[in-house]
């Protein structure tokens, strides 16, 4: 295990776990905040994993995830709005 993978583990434990907890509790909008946080942390974790494993071709995954989580969260904000 190198330092990049260690940083990824720290992010998963300290960043992704709180985001999952937020996503599982409270009202719908509060859960949405947890999901946004989880998406952002997941992107950074995947960047660090690609660096840690020395596989730059894996970087397409976080790049696509940024765009998909953006569109996905916007869909959720639309669906949760009172006037649709």
């Amino acid at each position: 295990m190198n330092w990049w993978l260690l940083a990824a583990v720290v992010l998963v434990v300290g960043g992704f776990a709180p985001a999952l907890y937020l996503t599982s509790r409270g009202a719908a909008v509060e859960r949405l905040i947890g999901m946004e946080l989880a998406g952002a942390v997941a992107v950074l974790v995947l960047l660090l994993l690609a660096q840690g494993f020395g596989q730059p071709q894996y970087l397409i995954v976080p790049l696509v995830l940024v765009l998909l989580s953006f569109a996905g969260t916007l869909v959720f904000t639309r669906l949760l709005g009172t006037r649709s």
Partner: protein
């Protein structure tokens, strides 16, 4: 240069972890929304800058920087959209305001 890159990544990871833990401590919705911004606008670019310093001027760096730039650009948009939905649900918006 590896030490500088590692330090930048460590700083970014610290910012993200502190923000994520801070969202757990804050009691209500709108303060939590504030803590999303450091993750996308500060933590992400710091991690990306650290990886860029380590990798040098390569295609890897370009992909990393594009990813964190998109993260920094889309983060505030999502924060505003979420804040608007929350304000709608709590009845804080007037009917006449544009959607």
């Amino acid at each position: 240069m590896t030490a500088l890159g590692g330090a930048l990544v460590a700083l970014g990871v610290t910012v993200v972890v502190l923000s994520a833990l801070g969202t757990l401590l804050l009691p209500s919705l709108f303060p939590r929304l504030h803590l999303l911004t450091p993750v996308t606008s500060l933590g992400g670019p710091l991690v990306g800058a650290g990886l860029a310093v380590v990798n040098g001027w390569t295609l890897t760096t370009a992909t990393v920087l594009l990813t964190v730039a998109l993260l920094a650009l889309t983060g505030p948009v999502l924060g505003a959209a979420t804040g608007r939905v929350a304000a709608q649900q709590e009845g804080l918006l007037d009917e006449g305001e544009p959607e």
